[in-house]
Symmetry: C2
Subunit: 242 residues, 2 copies
DNA sequence: CCGTTTTCTATTGTCGACAATTGCGATTGG
DNA sequence: CCAATCGCAATTGTCGACAATAGAAAACGG
């Protein structure tokens, strides 16, 4: 009776719809999303056993996922003390933004150099369609489109490392971005800015596109501060009623 | 006699000089270095049990370290198939180089904006001293100094995220960099280029410093190809006699 | 002799167990 | 009443065991 071993987990899997996703990837994806949305409070210690229990798995996949998230910058780690949620402060947002600007500028420039006319036309079309339906989208969906616009350009750059790094930054600033989207829901400058960038790309006007991109992404420190403040409010208020 | 449990590892630790470094970090550092130096052959499958045996630990710390290295871009992973060494090709080197250029340019510019006169003077001094002793250094040491020069600037930028990303790129291009250092051992343009950059920084000439940095880092695709070729030779020849 | 299916083996994925460590709270001495 | 010390409870670090999977080898049929 000592060797019933992994009986429990078998049941869990079965209950979870036979075997939709493998445990490892699933756990990774779930924790990742939690971290992106600050479902862990900033600097909060993450209890492995508790998390394992919540996701119905053992600590092994949990720890492996957490380790991965550490290098992604979503989680912090101290030996013998465990994993912590990353902090949430203005400096980090500003720093990431600053890096993002130069990478996105490079991204458009390369895309203009290397993408085909069809690719760029498709980008313009896609964004036009998205804009047309903008009102029907939730804020979360809208944020996703915003992110996708930039990622598409990054992919068109033909530099997979560049795209990879921008994706990394995206996941880290996802939370602030979502707040910004909601803030500016009414005055939807974002949509027209995207359209302008895309058009400049079609026209192969690298300098203009890069400048537009720069201005589009730039945020004042004051903006960042207000967004972070708003974010903190959500983390410590809304989170409780999830 | 079933519960001798972790006897074995106890012995290992004891044999390894009581307890110099904790297992986890040690394993991570060792595997990381192996990956940096292509002690695993490109795209080679990494056998967890074998590696665990070699480092005298169980698979848990191995897997955790590998997971971390996956997001660092030093290791590849496929579910149910395991971990693989990253490839080694020209495209990746060129892509990383391209990203590196824009980040390093931003880095100098920010450093010029934010570093104190003392900081910059210290940078110049340190590099002068290093240059003076250059002949006494091994190629490995020389490579380390090269890397350190750039990292110092990144830190002076005051943007920790920028520094972090540049460090990430450094570990990924470490191998090619080492080869480049050895190639150009004689015609040591690198040293004077560094000195020039540092001087431009002291003079707070951002445009010049950025341009120098750009030219310093830029490599032609032809150079990259030759370096990669040389690298492949080493990986598949020298590696056997380690 | 070649292509398909089956069996077998090597390797990964996940688990529960236990030791080591940390941090907190109680206890004691000033 | 506060500071330092001690011990205990909670938590992390690492391990070996076993199931699931994939890939190779063997058996089979054409």
């Amino acid at each position: 009776m000592l060797r019933s071993t992994r009986q429990g987990s078998q049941d869990n899997r079965a209950a979870l719809a036979s075997k939709p996703i493998k445990t490892g990837p699933r756990v990774y994806a779930e924790i990742r999303r939690m971290a992106m949305d600050y479902r862990f409070k900033p600097n909060e210690r993450i209890n492995e056993v508790e998390l394992a229990a919540r996701l119905n798995v053992s600590r092994s996949p949990i720890r492996e996922a957490l380790q991965r998230l550490v290098t992604e910058g979503l989680i912090t780690f101290q030996t013998n003390r465990g994993f912590f949620c990353r902090g949430f402060d203005v400096e980090e947002v500003v720093n990431l933004s600053d890096v993002r600007i130069v990478l996105e500028e490079r991204s458009v420039r390369l895309a203009i150099q290397r993408a085909t006319d069809e690719d760029l036309a498709a980008l313009v079309d896609w964004w036009a369609k998205t804009m047309a339906r903008a009102d029907a989208f939730s804020s979360a969906e809208l944020t996703a489109r915003d992110e996708e616009f930039h990622i598409r350009i990054a992919r068109l750059s033909g530099n997979s490392e560049l795209a990879r790094m921008l994706e990394g930054i995206n996941t880290r600033i996802h939370f602030v971005r979502k707040i910004e989207v909601e803030k500016h829901r009414r005055l939807s400058t974002t949509y027209t800015e995207h359209a302008d960038i895309a058009r400049a790309m079609v026209a192969r006007d690298a300098d203009r596109a890069a400048r537009l991109m720069h201005d589009h992404i730039s945020i004042s420190v004051a903006d960042a501060m207000s967004t972070v403040r708003e974010g903190l409010a959500r983390i410590y208020v809304d989170a409780d009623q999830i």
